[in-house]
Symmetry: C2
Subunit: 194 residues, 2 copies
DNA sequence: TAGCATACATACAGAATGTATGTAAAGAGG
DNA sequence: CCTCTTTACATACATTCTGTATGTATGCTA
C-alpha cells in the first residue's frame, strides 16, 4: 500500500490536526500532551515534529482551520438582507451559530490569544470574519459621522460579538444577547432608527 | 532576626506574588517556570508549594491582586460627573488609564481567561469594576427600553472596553478608541442624544 | 518547658518538550 | 532501470518542569 508523498503528508497532517483539535477542546492547550495527540492520531512524535515546528505551530494550524471553518459557515448562510442593518443582525446570528460548534469558543476566544498572542489571534478573524463585519458596518454607517470611526467601531463590535458568543455558550439567553447586540447596532445607526 | 509567623507568611507570599508578576508579564504564564520565580523571590520551591496549591493558584493570587489594583485605581479618580453619560465616559477613561499599567492587559485579558477559565476570569472583574459599570449603565439607561437588557449590555460594553484597552496597548490611537466608545454609549442613550 | 504546628528546604518521581540520529520509501536524473 | 537525493517518518536522548514526599528549625501554645 503505497501513496504519493504529498498524499501521505496531507493525511498525516490532517490526522494530527483533528486529533489535536479533539484534545485541545477537551482539556485545553496547556493540559494536552503531545504523546497523547500522536497516540490519538495513530502516529509518533517524530511525525508531529517533522510536520510542525513545535506544539504551538500545531495549535496554530488547528486554530487557522477553525477560523476558516467559521468563515465558511457564515458565508454558507445565504445573506438575504434588504437593509444594511439586517445584514449586520443576520451576520451576528450567523456568527453565533458558527461559534456554537463544540470547542470553537475555547479554541478561538480563550486559548488562541494566550497561546498565539493578541496580535496573531486577532489576525485569525481579521482575514474574513472581521473584514466582512467591517464592510457591513461601513455600509450601515455610510453618510453618518460615525463612519470616520469605522475601524475602532469594528473592533469594539467584534469584541461584543465574541463576548456574546461566550455568554451564549455559558448558558445565557441567546435572544437577550441578540437583542442587546441589536440595541448597540441601532444606536450606532443614528438616522436609521425605527 | 526573628519575625512572627504571620509576618513571615505575609512577606514570603508577597515576594512570590511580585516576582511571579514580573515574570508572568515578561514571558507569559506558560513560559515562566517556578524555579525562576522562586529564584527571583529569593526563596525555594518548598516555600511556593507551601503557600500555594500549585502554579495556577499563584497566578490566581497575582491576577486577583491586579484586578483589585485596577479597581482601586479607578476609584481613585474622583468621579465628578454631572450626568450619567459623563460618568460612563469618565469611567471608561479611568479604566483605560488603569489598564495601561505595564502587564495588566496581558495578565487580565490574555492569560487569565486561558489559565483560570472564562468563568473565573470574568469573576475577577465582576466584583468591582464590572459591577460599577453595571451601576453606571443602569443609571444611564433608566427609563429607556434598553434597561430591560441591562445585564447583557453590561457584558457587551465590558468586552468593548477590554478590546479598546488592548487596542490602545497595541498602539492604536487612544482618542479614536474613546470616541468610538462614546458613540456606542450615546447610541444606547436614546432620548439623551445631543 | 514540652509538645505541636508552621514555614520552610531538599530530594525524588514522573512526565513532557524539543532535538539528534537512524531508516525506509518516494522521487528525480541519467 | 539503476543510482542518488530528498522526504517522511520512528526511535532514542538530553533537558527541564511540575508536584510530592520527607526532613528540619523555629515560632507558638498549653
Amino acid at each position: 500500500m503505497s501513496r504519493s508523498n504529498s498524499e501521505r503528508t496531507r493525511m498525516t497532517r490532517q490526522a494530527l490536526i483533528e486529533a489535536a483539535r479533539r484534545l485541545f477542546v477537551e482539556k485545553g492547550y496547556a493540559e494536552t500532551a503531545t504523546p497523547d495527540i500522536v497516540a490519538a492520531a495513530g502516529v509518533t512524535r517524530g511525525a508531529l515534529y517533522h510536520h510542525f515546528e513545535d506544539k504551538r505551530a500545531l495549535f496554530r494550524a488547528v486554530a487557522e482551520q477553525e477560523a476558516a471553518a467559521v468563515s465558511a459557515d457564515i458565508e454558507r448562510q445565504a445573506m438575504t438582507a434588504r437593509t444594511a442593518r439586517d445584514a449586520l443582525l443576520f451576520g451576528a446570528r450567523a456568527y453565533f451559530d458558527a461559534m456554537q460548534v463544540e470547542g470553537r469558543t475555547r479554541l478561538l476566544l480563550l486559548d488562541a490569544p494566550a497561546v498565539l498572542g493578541a496580535a496573531e489571534a486577532a489576525g485569525l478573524d481579521a482575514r474574513e470574519a472581521e473584514s466582512a463585519l467591517r464592510a457591513g458596518l461601513g455600509d450601515y454607517l455610510r453618510g453618518t459621522e460615525a463612519e470616520a470611526l469605522l475601524t475602532p467601531l469594528t473592533g469594539l463590535l467584534s469584541a461584543a460579538f465574541d463576548r456574546a458568543a461566550l455568554a451564549i455558550e455559558a448558558g445565557e439567553d441567546r435572544a437577550a444577547q441578540e437583542a442587546a447586540i441589536a440595541l448597540v447596532i441601532d444606536g450606532l445607526g443614528g438616522e436609521f432608527r425605527r
